[in-house]
């Protein structure tokens, strides 16, 4: 169920009405669990079985890991969880990619073999709920949390509909304690949550779908581009993916807030980042933290010397790239960010963090970061590595910058991106709900009123959220 659909509007209103009836907390949680399963099944009902498999396996694995005494047995149970969750993810998301590459490898060795086309449908949100439920079993394995006593609460943690299909990836230690007692909900929570939903829908439908996507689609769909067009495409896609995904996260946080739950923010003005590690502290924060805690640290983090630290950074970013999709473009995108982080780490080691953060150097470093991030988005959006390389050739060669920006859509996209940068600079390090509450009420009302009006008057052809495919 898409957040920007009428179906969701009806669904959310029904849930709010039921949830705010004078019922016991347990009954309300049952309502949320049922609603979460309906939310997921509204897309493709049979795939809810996968969600149930993950829930059941991780619930039992966590309990078993807590009761067994020997470390080896614990490891076996953790292995079962990893095998089940990552196995399902690998089968649905990566098997076609692996077989295709195997075919090419065999062909290059002189063996022609064609595997049957599996034609698998990727279960929506599988990458997100797999990581969410894995974090629970790994935390129990590490002794950081105890198995949760209520199966219903755990099932709700895995399937909580506001963040089920595209994050933020919430940790058990953050969400499960909120289920112990009824959170503060009611009119104030609904009002604040609704305001965030309007804000998120404005980002998604007006900015991402209405302004940025048409420009990005047009240029990324062209066979050859001039340098200016390639830069415009990259900037438009940077705007699109931010507004699409941050918009989704804002709606998710708003929907959870309307039910009284708090979910940590997933984006914090990423295009104003000063440096690449700063960028990853601001972009898709819940995934960055997951990769840091469960992959980078598991690989040894920075505890095993300089070279292994750099290797761990590269591996984490490479796998992070592949998490986004089964394609070499995503792997290259992750690897490129790994290279950025490695260069940054080496530079800090060589000249010291203080110099890099000097107030005269900060704006230059922020600009370098932004330009590098814009370049990296080309890999993320391109249909193939060849297309990305062709775009880089013209982007990095000022001699190929011959066209000027004359199309109205391009001008609007570039202007909107500039305004996005201004907004991110102004509200840097502020949670959206905090500045919504701190602004004078009339200003909040006028801004949200204008956003809702533009939203209602800007119907666009339906586009799924970009991160649904991951």
């Amino acid at each position: 169920m898409n957040f920007d659909s009428y179906t969701f509007l009806v669904f959310w209103l029904v849930v709010l009405v039921l949830y705010n009836r004078p019922l016991s907390w347990s009954a309300k949680k049952n309502i949320l669990l049922g609603a979460s399963y309906i939310f997921y099944a509204a897309w493709n009902p049979p795939f809810i079985i996968l969600l149930w498999i993950s829930t059941l396996v991780d619930w039992h694995v966590a309990k078993k890991m807590f009761t067994v005494l020997r470390q080896r047995q614990k490891k076996l149970w953790l292995g079962l969880s990893l095998l089940t969750n990552l196995g399902l993810l690998a089968y649905f998301k990566y098997s076609a990619f692996l077989l295709e590459n195997l075919e090419q490898l065999l062909a290059s060795a002189g063996f022609e073999h064609q595997f049957p086309d599996q034609n698998l449908i990727l279960p929506i949100g599988i990458s997100f709920y797999t990581f969410q439920t894995l974090s629970y079993t790994i935390d129990v394995y590490r002794g950081q949390i105890k198995p949760w006593p209520s199966f219903r609460d755990f099932a709700l943690f895995v399937s909580f509909f506001p963040q089920l299909v595209a994050g933020p990836i919430v940790r058990a230690r953050s969400l499960l304690p909120q289920m112990l007692k009824p959170p503060q909900h009611g009119w104030n929570a609904i009002a604040l949550g609704t305001a965030m939903i309007i804000l998120g829908l404005f980002q998604k439908n007006v900015l991402a779908d209405g302004i940025f996507a048409p420009v990005a689609d047009q240029y990324f769909g062209m066979a050859s581009l001039d340098g200016i067009q390639a830069w415009t495409a990259s900037i438009a896609f940077a705007g699109q993916i931010f507004c699409d995904f941050a918009g989704y996260s804002t709606i998710a946080i708003g929907v959870a807030r309307s039910l009284g739950f708090r979910i940590a923010m997933n984006f914090n003005a990423p295009y104003t980042a000063i440096g690449f590690s700063d960028f990853w502290r601001r972009w898709h924060i819940s995934l960055s933290k997951w990769l840091r805690d469960y992959l980078y640290i598991s690989l040894g983090g920075n505890r095993r010397g300089k070279w292994l630290t750099l290797r761990n950074l590269m591996l984490t970013m490479l796998l992070g790239g592949l998490w986004h999709g089964a394609a070499w473009t995503f792997a290259a995108w992750g690897a490129l960010h790994g290279v950025f982080l490695v260069i940054e780490r080496v530079s800090i080691n060589a000249i010291g963090r203080g110099r890099l953060q000097h107030r005269f150097f900060k704006p230059i470093y922020a600009l370098i970061t932004l330009v590098a991030v814009l370049l990296s988005w080309v890999l993320f959006r391109a249909e193939s590595l060849q297309q990305a390389l062709a775009m880089y050739r013209v982007m990095l060669n000022p001699g190929a910058w011959t066209e000027s920006v004359t199309a109205g859509a391009d001008q609007l996209a570039l202007l909107s991106f500039a305004l996005l940068l201004v907004a991110q600079t102004l509200f840097r390090n502020h949670r959206q709900e905090v500045w919504l509450l701190r602004l004078p009420w009339l200003l909040t009302a006028l801004a949200l009123g204008a956003m809702l009006a533009i939203l209602l008057l800007s119907p666009a052809p339906s586009r799924a959220f970009i991160y649904f495919q991951f």
């Binding site: 659909s5 009428y6 179906t7 897309w43 009002a191 009123g449 119907p459």
Partner: protein, 336 residues
């Protein structure tokens, strides 16, 4: 926090903006129309079941503008109608999809011509079929119902009138949207009002484009064409073996269009050889003066004023040839 005051202001701004913008567009003679997208196509595709009294209409714009669901329902009130036509996209992929559906044993009315069966056009409707099987579900069904309801009532519900698109058009100095002469409704059939446009201009444009395209396009030989359509015959066979029917219809075109077609894909070499094969049910407008007598303002599409009479004539002919059963409705008598 002053939430009551905030939401009062929000709703006043939002509702007054929508209301005034709607009035503005209507003042300029724009009218609401349903947006025919993949969701709405999927809503119709979902109507396909094992019920034998199901008519699946396949084709592109000619039958989309020429078939009246009202007339069909008045003649066959117990039947389910699934409109799987897609403007500007030929229907072979949709037929393959129905053939793959082992439950389906209804009637397929497939509007085609020889051009639409050239192999490179076979997968034109595949994206709609894929969308239905991979993406469509109960959530999108409900969304489509509500979106269609809104689009049929508000001009501003149409993406063509979105503020961002209008702003971009204004920046590019490309003016206001064209007043559309084609209006869709929930049935996905459309009504074309050719009195609203300069038909002569459109006609000339169409023929120029058609002649240019026909001249540039390398047409396969009749043998190649027939060979590439063996799959089509297989799919027709699958449906008919289950008790269903597939009726191939050649919709009317005017003399000039007909001559272009005859020049490149002569009927006797293409259409007649395909439909002459055993078990193929077909109907060609040139064989029936009634069907060939309707005015076609742009050369190949009916004005909405003629579609009811045309549909009655068409269904009458299908019944006469035994392709459709006797109608049970009250308007079964052909009207002149």
């Amino acid at each position: 926090m002053h939430w009551r005051k905030i939401y009062l202001v929000i709703f006043i701004i939002a509702l007054s903006s929508v209301f005034s913008t709607e009035l503005y567009w209507r003042h300029l003679s724009y009218r609401p129309t349903v947006v025919d997208d993949k969701n709405l196509w999927s809503v119709h595709r979902q109507r396909i079941s094992d019920k034998p009294q199901t008519l699946a209409v396949l084709g592109a714009s000619r039958i989309q503008l020429g078939f009246s669901p009202e007339v069909f329902h008045s003649l066959y009130p117990d039947w389910t109608l699934a409109n799987l036509t897609i403007n500007a996209n030929y229907p072979v992929a949709a037929l393959a999809d129905l053939a793959d559906n082992t439950e389906f044993r209804g009637v397929v009315l497939m509007a085609i011509d020889a051009r639409s069966l050239i192999h490179i056009f076979h997968s034109m409707q595949q994206p709609w079929v894929d969308y239905y099987h991979r993406d469509f579900g109960p959530g999108l069904w409900l969304h489509s119902q509500m979106a269609t309801f809104k689009q049929s009532r508000l001009v501003t519900a149409n993406a063509e009138f979105s503020l961002t698109r209008r702003f971009v058009a204004w920046l590019g100095d490309s003016g206001k949207p064209h007043v559309t002469y084609i209006v869709f409704d929930r049935s996905r059939f459309a009504k074309a009002d050719y009195q609203q446009i300069k038909v002569d201009y459109h006609l000339r444009e169409r023929f120029n484009a058609m002649r240019k395209s026909a001249a540039e396009f390398t047409v396969p030989t009749a043998d190649e064409w027939l060979e590439s359509n063996e799959k089509l015959l297989h799919w027709i066979g699958l449906i008919q073996q289950r008790g269903g029917k597939v009726i191939l219809i050649r919709m009317p075109t005017n003399q000039e269009s007909w001559e272009v077609d005859e020049e490149h894909l002569p009927r006797r070499d293409y259409w007649d050889r395909l439909t002459g094969q055993e078990g193929i049910l077909s109907l060609h407008f040139k064989d029936w003066p009634e069907l060939d007598s309707y005015p076609l303002p742009d050369g190949s599409h009916l004005d909405f004023r003629d579609k009811q009479a045309f549909t009655r004539d068409l269904l009458h002919k299908l019944k006469e040839r035994g392709y459709m059963p006797d109608s049970t409705g009250q308007s079964g008598v052909r009207q002149q």
